[in-house]
Symmetry: C2
Subunit: 449 residues, 2 copies
């Protein structure tokens, strides 16, 4: 049994480790296009911001260590083709040059995403970057030298995390966003505004409703971003306008893509092609609240898919039941989290959704470190089904989003949330945790309305 | 309809407010033995320690404000008797003197607990205190003046919170505990030891397996605690050896007590006597994991019971389905939390329980504020049922106990926990949150053995 894994980061390395552990007889080979494997890409903004000293700190496992565990890891090896009939892949050695053909019994495509580069960003100007892998991180760190003003194009998670990172390096930071607010589809409008206010409070300039037209350079280096509202000076530009699943290899294998554009997989992470699996940011997952296939590339999901694929490829039986749409991020002193559906998303799906907004404190009101926390809880009228929550507050306080995630997995109701025996002592929450207060109010809305 | 509430703190005031809101026609009277109502008793250690400036900060609602809402609140009024046949109570006015008889249609007994005072603690010596209400807090604050060494007898929540409080006032603090470890039945042994280590790290002396024999005084003031292992100097002694439900009035009304010694109530908070309700720290509740009646007096439970009683007394329909045994506390820089059953408790109930211990970090390992977190997750062999969790770590990190509480309410399995889509970003957790790591390991234990 020979298992070939394409991609050596989250999903790929989880799969390889798990396959090997499940079936120590299996031969496991991993081909990674880049120079490193198994790094925490989510940590890149924290190295760039200086919170984490070195990019190397993000690396969890080296090729050497994996080889010690009997997994043959080849970095700078790109899989450029696949013959699903013959069960072979074509591998390009990017260092030595030359290609070879490698057989497989089971193939995992864990190729992740590519950062979207709009037409205007396809440039040779120095100082223009996307942020996807360690090499990007390294390039941005190099560009920091002498830079004084940064433009971040796109106000999704990465854009917002990078705004903080570059600000803490002493740069003047402008965030440009085409949409009317920051934080994209993650939050409803009022909660997006709280995030923007936090950026502005720290001196980050945020321009929403603004489109980039072109980059202006001088001596081969970017100097400004030309927008439909005029130019913005910038000697460092981060293009964070989204990602696209890297599906080329899957398509070459004949695997079906889903409506989201990501690779369609079943709960065993099998693609439509026999013997070919896919996992990670390039794949769809099932949203357990809506029952629909979605493409929400996030770290835990990628690791989970990889694990499931690894077990199944090695002859075991594992299943990935899906996600509930949980996400969290921090920018400056603010944490924002959500799970399930926002009111906007629920309405978009035609659900009879209703939300309540509660402002409370994250500790007992009289406790010295108590700070405001804002919660929007969303449920379905009539059925009382819990649909989702959004939280904004001190970073540590918004991790309570997980409580609602747990209930969403269990298809719990608003009433179920209200009945929870949550932990209370003054340094931890109010007697009635803000989630309970929200559930109480929403309970009346979903019932009567 | 006349509703009489005995006791004006958590359960009593919740009930009064809720009754009035549910039925604005109802006449609601509250009699409180002490001088204040509606205060956060759980906050007392933080006033004593100086984190919260004033005892008054703990007061959420005043009698005047309640009267403004149409609720007749009488402080320093003690209900000394009840005639459940005639539906009257006898009320002693502790200020003006004299008793009177008051009629009721519905009576709520929300008399809370009394602090246990062992024989040796029944003394006239100054500097010896229990901590139950605002008056006790005031007395301890007065005793702080000139005090240099404190002895805390009993290492339950209150004892441990008081150890920190008195230490931060500059006192030398010794904790005496009869049991072999601190934190009583809250945690299994290894986790109790982590709590003790935190106290000791801060210079608190902890003597377990030590019984108090008597208090030694001088000029009417306590000077030492005589134990079975010798004397301990102390000019301030906090007796925190436990609480007892205050059931006298309920017994006078003819209401049945449960096996726990607390008042037996149904899910509507009705006692065995028609028209008489009980709620709060004096009452039993149903433990949803064991199906047994328990007496675990805690703030949220008291408020919840009061609310349910209030609605029902006012003619509505509410139910308190029970608790899952969640508790949390902080001492110094350590938080400890638990829900469900400990391994010890589960074994005591004859369950085929198994636990795994996981040490991880509360944020991504490379993130600067990452700190160790220790988790013991407990499940039932064979069935795979989730039984409980214990967590010890940085205070903010142990509130994730609530995720397990949510699943316990839903009678979830260890596998259910593992599948949760929990929030991940480096400032919030590891990719695999420590709860997921624990669920993964425990999943193998409960299945295979």
């Amino acid at each position: 049994m020979r298992i070939v894994v394409v991609g050596g980061v989250a999903a790929g390395m989880s799969a390889a480790s798990r396959a090997r552990r499940h079936n120590p007889e299996a031969e496991v080979a991993v081909f990674e296009r880049g120079g490193e494997i198994s790094y925490g890409a989510c940590g890149l903004p924290y190295v760039i911001g200086g919170d984490v000293p070195d990019l190397g700190d993000l690396i969890a496992r080296t090729p050497e260590r994996m080889r010690g565990q009997g997994i043959d890891v080849r970095v700078r090896h790109e899989v450029t083709g696949v013959d699903a009939g013959a069960r072979t892949v074509t591998v390009l050695d990017r260092e030595a040059g030359g290609t070879r053909t490698e057989p497989y019994d089971r193939l995992l495509i864990a190729t992740g995403v590519n950062a979207v580069r709009p037409e205007w960003a396809r440039t040779d100007l120095r100082g223009v970057h996307v942020l996807r892998d360690l090499a990007d991180g390294r390039a941005i760190l190099a560009s920091l030298k002498g830079a004084t003003c940064a433009c971040i194009v796109g106000a999704g998670y990465i854009g917002l995390e990078m705004a903080e990172a570059l600000h803490s390096r002493g740069l003047r930071v402008t965030v440009l966003e085409k949409a009317p607010e920051v934080a994209g589809r993650m939050l409803d409008r009022a909660y997006q505004q709280r995030v923007r206010a936090e950026l502005e409070r720290h001196g980050v300039e945020v321009r929403c409703g603004t489109s980039v037209e072109e980059l202006v350079g001088e001596n081969g280096h970017v100097r400004a971003v030309q927008t439909d509202h005029g130019p913005v000076p910038a000697d460092l530009v981060i293009v964070a306008v989204g990602v696209k699943p890297n599906t080329a290899l899957a398509e070459a294998a004949g695997a079906r893509l889903g409506e989201t554009g990501a690779i369609a997989v079943n709960t065993r992470q099998e693609t439509s092609v026999d013997g070919v699996y896919a996992a990670g940011d390039n794949s769809e997952s099932l949203h357990c609240v809506t029952g629909q296939k979605v493409h929400i590339p996030l770290g835990l999901t990628a690791n989970r898919m990889g694990r499931v694929a690894g077990v199944n490829m090695a002859g075991g039986e594992a299943r990935f039941p899906g996600i509930v749409g949980t996400a969290i991020f921090k920018t400056f002193d603010l944490g924002a989290a959500r799970t399930g559906l926002t009111q906007t998303e629920a309405e978009g799906l035609g659900l009879d959704a209703v939300s309540v907004d509660v402002e409370s404190t994250d500790h007992a009101g009289y406790y010295p470190t108590a700070a405001p926390i804002f919660v929007r809880l969303t449920g379905e009228r009539g059925s009382g089904r819990l649909l989702g929550v959004q939280l904004v507050g001190q970073p540590a306080s918004v991790k309570r989003v997980d409580v609602v995630a747990a209930l969403l997995h269990q298809r719990g109701s608003v009433g179920d949330l209200f009945e929870l025996d949550l932990a209370y002592a003054p340094p931890f929450s109010s007697v009635w945790d803000v989630l309970l207060v929200a559930a109480d109010r929403l309970g009346r809305e979903v019932a009567g309305g």
